[in-house]
Amino acid sequence: MSDTFSLSRRRFIASTALGAAAAATGTIAMPAVLRAQGAPIKIGVLQPVTGPLSYSGTQGQLGAMLAIEEINAAGGIKSLGGAKFDAVVGDAQSTPAGGTAEVEKMNAAGVSCIVGGYASGICLATTQAAARYDLPYVVDVGVADNIVTRGLKNTFRFGPGFGVIANAALENLVTINNNAGKPAKTVMIVHEDSLFGAGLAKLLNEKLPTQGFQVLETISHPTPTRDFNTIVLKIKAQNPDLVIPANYYNEYVLLARTMQQQQVKPKGIYSVLGGAASSYKFVKEFPEAAKGIMDCNHWFNPLSDKAQALKKTVEAKGQFFTYEVYLNYACIGLVADALERAGSADRAKVTEALASSTWANHIMPYGPTKFVNGQNEGAAPCNTQVQGNDIKVILPAKFADAKPMFPVT
């Protein structure tokens, strides 16, 4: 007892002396000592919660905050004495300039890491703003390939980039068609005219003929487009086996609804990063138009109990379980794992721990993380299909909870 007491007293004196020394050496040294005693770890949650991207930003923020609440409730970061996350929330205002200003504020607030950004344009600006301070940054969505090809040591992307998604989409389309006995031979592509849609259309036009598909027509349209009647009439006239749309949410919904109204029923609708095809909102609001649509997109692991529990939590809040939610939720988990292994909230150590991450206990169908130049090599999209008013994973087989229904008609 006396031993315990004397040890405690020694510890007390030592810690007091350390504290005094830290106070004397200035404010920079203080957080390190306080963190050793389980002081909160500041983490930046950066999302475009106002402006044109506000819906996605709000969803992303929801996912991040749910993860932070969960980690804090489970006792925080154990290796840091149960240190809790203290979220420093920032609004990128849907612009790179807004995002950069928030990075400056977060750096001044002393965050250990930033998660988010959402849009590629914002991520490109915010990651390099954070790089000035060697501040680790985990990109949640931003699919532009150059986010991780610039050699920024502080930048990590947990999810897949555009190149990986486009290639997987092509491979999976061929697999689905081959497994069904090659019912689809002709294709029409309807795409929006920025690089997302136009780039994808170009890639498909190059690769599809080599896989035995004939591209009947490629139709581009601007965003926004508010009338798809002419485009759908063209589709009806050409009568392709497969329609491949590449556009954003509103246009996607309008195209699918117009096809339903004009009773255009191809053997399948197959999209890549389809604005609405992997959206529970679309399925709930327009179940008939959504029926049978396939998409290659970000998706959670449906076989994960944690993912299903999170889905229930999000839905109980009256929100849709969108990819922004679970990607941000997973990214916070990735940072928590890195902090746990780093045993320190020091930025350089967190960056090092992220770079060597082999985190497997997550809700995404990626397997253990492995970062090469900041990109998680295991990250891959899933192929989903709307079946029975629900969205099911049909590929990759390892994570599938349903078989592809193809041809639909």
């Binding site: 612009t95 400056e104 001044a108 590629s120 610039r150 136009a198 780039g199």
Partner: protein, 324 residues
């Protein structure tokens, strides 16, 4: 404004600011504010002094930004040279658009609409053209060297943008004092009367458009060097056209310091509203909008004109008493 002293004093006061302010948050705020003030000063020369209200100053901002970025990324041109080329490109666009619009005799809302249309056309072209990187945009590589016009310290960026703002202030001051400035104001007040007195309205307006284009393009060039990324929405989006006209109108169109004051007030209001409302998304914008309405309501001639407005309010009753 006859004397150069106020202009010099403001420039010196702003130049010494980083010696007292070390916070990067504040410096970043000031850099972006000065960048918007520069874009606004460009608009002010054409709109404030010349009375030609453009709704599409993004054409200059975007062209400056894209030329700076593309020359560096695709052609390996030195950043400083690319910056200069961006400004020249602003002058070229100003000449072309100005010549087309003014030759066609477009004035007032028609001129505003045609500039807006030009900006939209350029935005759509930039969103599909391979040279601009189409939808993905153009990314300038991070290379923090003086030769690449990238600096580790935010203070250096601050001094760079301040020197551009200072140059724009001096240009505006010179215009105000010059014969060209008098012609420009004459065209603004009554173009037909000015023409009747022998002012070549087309040349004067075209001259203002070119100077305006160079100044606003410089803001676009700076944007690229600071954020190192540009896409069609940033370059030619309506946001910058609105910012470029909002800052001088709030501050005081047709005055030397109008855009600078306007940019400071607008940005400070935005940040202040954010501090007051905390993290409630969008609430800061509501507060910001309400304060903005109040400012415009009570001082339609801008903040610079507030003194006159207030003096007028106090003096009017006395004048009325005398009349009665």
């Amino acid at each position: 404004m006859k004397s150069f002293v106020p202009v010099a004093l403001v420039i010196v006061a702003l130049a010494v600011l980083p010696l007292f302010v070390q916070s990067n948050v504040v410096l970043n705020f000031l850099v972006v504010t000065l960048m918007l003030a520069l874009a606004g000063q460009g608009w002010n020369i054409l709109g404030g002094y010349g009375g030609q209200y453009s709704f599409g100053h993004a054409i200059f901002f975007g062209t400056g930004a894209y030329v700076t970025a593309i020359l560096q990324v695709k052609y390996g041109v030195n950043a400083w040279l690319a910056f200069g080329c961006g400004m020249v490109a602003g002058a070229v666009v100003g000449t072309v658009v100005g010549w087309l619009a003014f030759r066609a005799g477009l004035r007032g809302s028609y001129f505003a609409l045609v500039t807006l249309a030009f900006a939209e056309v350029l935005r759509i072209v930039a969103s599909v053209a391979p040279i601009t990187g189409a939808g993905v945009g153009t990314l300038v590589n991070l290379d923090m060297r003086f030769s690449a016009m990238q600096f580790q310290s935010r203070a250096v960026f601050y001094w760079l943008i301040l020197s551009l703002v200072a140059a724009a202030l001096i240009i505006t001051w010179l215009i105000e004092r010059s014969r060209f400035g008098a012609w420009l104001i004459a065209v603004r007040e009554n173009e037909d009367a000015a023409r009747a007195l022998g002012v070549n309205a087309l040349t004067v307006k075209l001259g203002a458009m070119v100077i305006s284009g160079v100044v606003t393009a410089a803001a676009g060039c700076f944007y690229v060097q600071y954020f190192l990324f540009v896409d069609s929405h940033i370059a030619y989006g309506t946001w910058i056209s609105v910012e470029a006209l909002l800052t001088p109108i709030i501050g005081g169109a047709g005055t030397i310091f109008g855009p600078l004051v306007g940019a400071l007030v607008v940005r400070a209001l935005g940040e202040g509203a954010l501090l007051i409302t905390g993290h409630a998304p969008g609430l800061d914008l509501v507060v910001f909008g309400m304060v903005l309405i109040a400012v415009v309501w009570f001082s339609p001639s801008g903040i610079i004109g507030l003194r006159k407005t207030l003096l007028g309010k106090f003096r009017r009753p006395a004048a009325e008493v005398r009349r009665g």
